[in-house]
């Protein structure tokens, strides 16, 4: 949760349209970059929403539903901006409901099935630690719209991280049963976490323009938050590499995403344009 390095904009923040007028070659990378953000929050938001009505206690059920709604709210903003930048007449809903799995750009971590509540909370925590570090830098993005969205989302994600890290500590340092489940969850999810901080050419182009940070620059902040919390939770950081499972940000997904989309997109696929 440290704010050691913010991305340094080359110039004061400017609207996306102005940035693209000066550098039209950034349009395609920016659409991808924004889809990566929006798809991450969309798929995780959907996963968390699967708990609605099934939470272990009424209070936890509502808290998870609130978190899911926050994430879907971020999705509307990120995918809305992605659609606007793309400029092909698509909306945020079109991007969410009418793309197939291979066109999604979320990291694999968020599509892993929920498992038990321990795995759900561990995944949220591992994501929140990254999400918070990312948004802390995005508030000084060179693109005005991105900085504004990040400022709004950061307040919510601050609470998400507060809550998930607290629960990881309580359950990790809880009973023998809860400790074992949290350790198993961490061991299962660990190989997926490295992708969050693993950049490619698209990331490099956007980072150079000061629009989005280089994913690798988030690693130290993520590492510090995660290791501190896991130590307090008496959980052992797995020894293997954490960047084994990746490819989601390039469109290579696990089998789980297809099933998730089948459920999430059913209504709009069966009744295109349906509204309520």
């Amino acid at each position: 949760m440290s704010a050691d390095a913010t991305i340094a904009p080359l110039a004061p923040a400017r609207p996306v349209d102005d940035l693209l007028a000066a550098a039209p070659e950034l349009r395609a990378p920016l659409v991808t970059g924004l889809c990566r953000l929006g798809d991450a929050t969309l798929i995780l938001g959907h996963r968390v929403s699967e708990w609605c009505g099934h939470g272990p206690a009424l209070e936890e059920d509502i808290a998870l539903a609130n978190t899911a709604l926050d994430l879907i709210g971020h999705t509307q903003m990120w995918l809305g901006l992605a659609a606007q930048v793309e400029g092909r007449g698509r909306s945020a809903d079109d991007l969410a409901y009418h793309r197939d799995a291979m066109h999604f750009r979320n990291p694999l971590l968020v599509e892993v099935p929920n498992g038990d509540i321990g795995r759900t909370l561990m995944r949220l925590f591992l994501f929140d630690a990254w999400h918070h570090a990312l948004l802390e830098r995005l508030v000084s993005s060179s693109a005005t719209e991105i900085a504004e969205i990040a400022a709004k989302a950061l307040k919510e994600v601050h609470y998400h991280l507060d809550r998930s890290s607290d629960l990881v500590v309580r359950l990790g340092d809880g009973s023998e049963e809860s400790h074992a489940r949290m350790q198993a969850a961490l061991d299962l999810l660990w190989p997926y976490t490295g992708e969050l901080c693993f950049g490619d050419d698209t990331d490099a182009a956007l980072a150079e323009a000061g629009i989005l940070p280089e994913p690798g620059d988030l690693r130290s902040a993520w590492d510090a938050t995660v290791r501190e919390t896991l130590a307090e939770a008496t959980l052992a950081v797995p020894e293997g590499r954490n960047d084994v499972q990746r490819g989601g940000r390039q469109g290579r997904h696990t089998e789980h995403l297809g099933y998730l989309l089948a459920e999430m997109q059913f209504l709009q696929r069966a009744y295109p344009g349906a509204e309520w």
């Binding site: 009424l58 209070e59 808290a63 609130n66 809550r163 607290d166």
Partner: protein, 94 residues
């Protein structure tokens, strides 16, 4: 080991209100979590700016069967209301 989380009474101060008002109760393992849960359960629609939680067990309540002896005697004592004074015009609205 007891499985149920203890019950907490939740008090919230609204945007305009000066005092905290009782809004309901919830279950939580401890006070810190109770505040968090109260935030999620009772302030989803911007209801509050401050939250208090109190263990329900810490509240001592009057028993319903004592209602008569406790409250009825006040019924015929209208003179306890300050309505028998003439207020000078200079005082204005009270």
């Amino acid at each position: 080991m007891r499985k149920e989380w203890p019950l907490w009474e939740v008090f919230i101060r609204s945007q305009q209100g000066l005092n905290h008002r009782h809004v309901g109760s919830l279950h939580a393992p401890d006070a810190e979590t109770a505040v968090r849960n109260a935030r999620d359960v009772y302030t989803r629609r911007k209801e509050g700016v401050s939250i208090w939680v109190v263990p329900s067990a810490a509240i001592t309540a009057s028993t319903p069967s004592d209602k008569g002896p406790l409250f009825d005697p006040a019924e015929d004592k209208v003179y306890r209301h300050p309505t028998f004074y003439d207020i000078p015009d200079d005082v204005g609205h009270m």
